[in-house]
């Protein structure tokens, strides 16, 4: 009995050691002095291996990436730790959260090389240069082409269309309190109809049978009839609040690739989001951080972004892949809103929206 129990104890200890040593090998190590630059970002951060390797080779810095949850969490955590930050550069604060980051002193000034190449409409904080615009994307209603051709119905193109009886019970959107596209769509309607009238619009939308689910995953993969998941789940909503880059993704992530996207974008329903990066206050490696910010604005990185993060470049003359041009063109006149205005109204709007639409 004692022999077997000893053997058993050995197995347990052994398993533990295997686990510890195995995990040890994936430890990227902390510190690293001035030769390591640490990027703190959200879960969607992605870059091609060879593009990052080229930066490391050319600059001499090793890049360590920390992913810190979704966009909102990553910003909040960065603010919580701003006196002793986890890294040198933060990427991924968008215009809906920019004021929160700036007001809390998250970033220090640095005008990245290549800032003069950024398209003028994306530039912000021009006097202090605390953040650098990196990418942009539109939140828009997507439609299921098959549904509309089968029912011989023209897909909607504008916010006004969505409240028409022809589109009754067709739209699914996300909870503005918990979902980034849900919030973007709400902000789009607030930008379009103004402080006084957006609630009326939502009353009409509610009367026209809009369905609200908690997150993008449920809306797109469960309720939207144009997605792979939706088809399997026999989804019955041919309109969904998603991104302008979703139709290109439907082409790129298909095997074999279809000639045309199964979904389209209602171009008059778009709200534009821009994502920024900045040098963190109290960063340990400011020199490396600056070099990394410069890298984010290089043509090579800007052109690498679309297929990695499904966003559009902000740099003049940066090319986007063919699928983006064909199936997910950027809206001509998207709704936008100044970060201060969002900061001032956001919580109140979400609160009124919640009691208006969900209750």
């Amino acid at each position: 009995m004692s022999i077997t129990s000893r053997r058993f104890a050995a197995v347990v200890v052994g398993l533990g050691m295997v686990g510890l040593s195995a995990c040890g090998s994936s430890d990227s190590g902390t510190g690293g002095g001035s030769k390591t630059v640490t990027l703190v970002s959200h879960d969607s951060w992605a870059v091609s291996k060879n593009v990052l390797a080229a930066f490391e080779k050319q600059s001499g810095y090793k890049v360590r990436v920390l992913k810190d949850g979704d966009a909102g969490q990553a910003v909040n955590k960065a603010i919580l730790t701003k006196d002793n930050p986890q890294g040198d550069v933060f990427f991924g604060v968008d215009n809906t959260l920019l004021s929160r980051a700036l007001d809390n002193g998250l970033f220090q000034s640095y005008e990245a090389k290549g800032s003069d190449q950024v398209l003028p409409e994306y530039r912000v904080d021009q006097d202090k240069h605390r953040v650098t615009p990196i990418d942009t994307g539109d939140i828009c209603v997507n439609y299921d082409k098959a549904y509309f051709s089968k029912h011989e119905l023209t897909p909607p193109t504008s916010f006004d269309d969505l409240v028409k009886p022809a589109y009754k019970n067709l739209l699914v959107t996300e909870n503005a309190a918990t979902s980034s596209p849900g919030l973007g769509f709400l902000l789009g309607t607030a930008a379009k109809y103004g402080d006084d009238n957006w609630q009326d619009y939502w009353k009409k939308l509610k009367a026209n049978g809009v369905k609200v689910v908690d997150g993008w995953e449920q809306a797109y993969n469960e309720e939207f009839s144009g997605s792979a998941g939706g088809k399997k789940a026999k989804a019955d909503r041919p309109l969904v609040v998603s991104y302008a880059s979703s139709p290109p993704a439907e082409v790129i992530y298909a095997d074999p690739k279809p000639k045309t996207a199964p979904t389209g974008v209602a171009t008059g329903t778009c709200f534009r989001q821009t994502e920024y990066a900045g040098l963190l206050s109290n960063a340990k490696n400011t020199k490396g951080g600056k070099a990394f910010l410069d890298f984010l604005l290089t043509k090579r990185f800007q052109e690498d972004m679309p297929l990695n993060m499904f966003v559009y470049p902000v740099r003049k003359g940066a090319q986007v892949p063919e699928e983006f041009v064909k199936f997910g063109p950027q809206a001509k006149n998207p709704q936008t809103m100044a970060p201060d205005r969002i900061a001032d109204h956001r919580d109140q709007w979400v609160k009124s929206w919640t009691s208006l639409v969900l209750k």
Partner: protein, 559 residues
């Protein structure tokens, strides 16, 4: 029994002082673990929310709790947790009986399979569960009933998730109860019901209560299920804490809600300790394989069939939907896609997430078994002081605290050397072990307490050291419980999603994280890969649990 006690009393005096010291040593490790990795981070984040310019703002508590919205959330959280626990016990206790007492082909595989839902990420299972209760689901096809966005979907999903908790916790002990005791009672003239009520039920009560407690804690802090199946109209405290911390960044409201949840969970734990702890008694445990036999008579066969049918509908059907959707491409296309470095959601092929998950899970299991095992050993003695018994309840608290609170707490608490662990890989298994330890303790404690104290005393009288007593007396008897506990800790760690996403980490995603990331992007291949990876997660988990069961059966007959 009293006679035995007086006989050994003289030696006992010296010995008990030594064993008290040993027990203090045993307690010190888990206490330090929970102080550093749980109490301190949570206290730090609550203090950040409630302390303005160095002064505590306790008035906020009254303000927040007075809001009608918050009161509504609190009420819903509580009643759905009670209802879910009752429903789970109702459905799963017959299952526990069947698994404990009947021998039937495929039993081991089935026991592993029913544990699978428990470890799957809710975002995936929520999806699969809609195939049962949602549009075009089984209920819709048969009777035109749709339960999604109703509270029934939430309750049923809670049964689905927690079925294994009851089957494993209660069934584990049930299978080791000597059926001859009940038979003896019947021979002496007791009716079947009376024999069960007076012999089996009292022996089983602590395990049932432990299972109920865990199910209650899980459903009280339910997050994904409520969001996905209930829709935005339903909100638990956990959802609200997440929203306040992660979206609105109102740390003071989040801190108040954390305290409210903490108090509620603490009250439940205290109630549990008060009603149940005193009833735990030494039991005569026998080898599990000796107690199970083929069902006899129409009644037993009907029971077996009923349990199997409920498992098929409630547990297997949603899982089968996942598997079917993962295979919905020619030549295993979704599985093949997992091995390629495509468009860059990951820097590595998604398939490598399996390796990451296994490494984390092994480390987390080792931590949980060591910490939980030490704690359980220290808590075994019923003459343990009040301090030690209070510690028992404290060990369960991590189940009652939101993962987002712990994750944010880690961030601001563990940021100075020597404990600057914020970017270290170890943080992930540590956070997972926090959830695993309560399982280890809860699974081991009833069995450890059931070990007859006289066996230990006899060994001590014969000159064995406390370590030797534990090794020669306790360990052989609790090995099964230890393996069940390790299996739970492993499974919990494999499926753990909450703390893992709230901790900053280098780009080596675990399986649940990878699944969530794939589901977060448009495109058929991404969806298909998410289903394929979920299927793999299911298989990895089922195999791990089966291996553990195999380990156990190799050694049966020893006690």
């Amino acid at each position: 029994m009293d006679l035995t006690r007086t006989e050994v009393a003289p030696r006992q005096g010296r010995r008990s002082r030594r064993s008290a010291a040993a027990r203090l040593g045993l307690v010190a490790v888990p206490v330090a673990f929970f102080a550093v990795f749980f109490a301190y981070p949570v206290a730090a984040i609550v203090a950040r929310g409630l302390k303005v310019d160095g002064r505590w703002q306790f008035g906020r508590i009254v303000d927040v709790v007075a809001q009608p919205d918050i009161r509504h959330v609190l009420w819903f959280t509580t009643w759905q947790a009670f209802a879910s626990t009752a429903l789970t016990l109702l459905v799963a206790l017959p299952g526990a009986y069947v698994f404990a007492r009947f021998a039937f082909p495929g039993k081991q595989v089935l026991r592993a399979v029913v544990t699978v839902p428990f470890v799957l990420p809710t975002v995936v299972v929520g999806t699969a569960f809609l195939a049962l209760v949602g549009r075009g689901g089984l209920l819709d096809e048969l009777w035109g009933v749709r339960l999604d966005t109703t509270v029934w979907a939430i309750l049923l999903a809670h049964v689905f998730f927690n079925y294994a908790v009851v089957v494993r916790t209660v069934g584990g002990l049930w299978s080791q109860l000597d059926p001859r005791q009940e038979e003896a009672a019947r021979m002496l003239g007791a009716s079947r019901l009376a024999a069960w009520r007076q012999v089996t039920l009292p022996a089983l009560a602590p395990a049932v209560a432990a299972a109920a407690l865990m199910v209650f804690l899980f459903t009280f802090t339910s997050f994904g299920v409520v969001q996905i199946l209930g829709g935005p109209a339903f909100s638990t405290l956990e959802v609200e804490i997440y929203r306040q911390t992660s979206e609105i960044f109102d740390l003071s409201t989040a801190a108040v809600l954390t305290i409210v949840q903490f108090v509620a969970v603490g009250a439940v734990l205290a109630l549990h300790a008060w009603t149940v702890r005193r009833r735990e008694t030494a039991l005569r445990l026998v080898d599990a394989s000796a107690t199970a036999r083929r069902p006899r008579g129409a009644g037993q066969w009907a029971l077996l069939a009923g349990v199997l049918a409920s498992i098929a509908v409630l547990l297997l059907l949603p899982l089968a939907v996942l598997v079917q959707r993962s295979l919905d491409a020619p030549d295993f296309g979704y599985y093949r896609a997992l091995t390629s470095e495509d468009g860059g959601i990951f820097l590595v092929p998604p398939i490598e997430a399996i390796g990451n998950s296994l490494q984390y899970a092994v480390a987390a299991t080792a931590i949980a078994v060591v910490i939980g095992g030490l704690a359980a050993a220290a808590l075994t003695r019923r003459d343990a002081g009040r301090f030690v018994r209070g510690f028992d309840a404290l060990l369960m608290l991590p189940l009652g605290v939101s993962a987002v609170t712990v994750g944010f707490g880690f961030l601001i608490a563990l940021d100075e050397p020597p404990l600057d662990l914020r970017a270290s890989w170890i943080l992930v298994p540590l956070a997972q072990a926090l959830v695993g330890v309560p399982f280890v303790v809860r699974t081991m404690l009833p069995v450890l307490r059931a070990v007859d104290v006289r066996l230990r005393e006899a060994a001590a009288v014969l000159g064995a050291s406390p370590w030797r007593v534990w090794r020669e007396v306790d360990l052989p008897m609790v090995r099964r419980a230890l393996l069940v506990a390790a299996g739970f800790a492993f499974a919990v760690s494999l499926g753990e999603f909450g703390a893992t996403v709230f901790i900053a980490r280098p780009d080596n995603p675990t399986l649940p994280v990878a699944v969530a990331r794939l589901l977060g992007r448009a495109g058929e291949l991404n969806y298909g890969q998410a289903m394929a990876l979920s299927t793999i997660l299911m298989i990895v988990c089922a195999v791990a649990l089966l291996v553990l069961e195999r380990l156990r059966t190799d050694r049966t007959g020893e006690f």
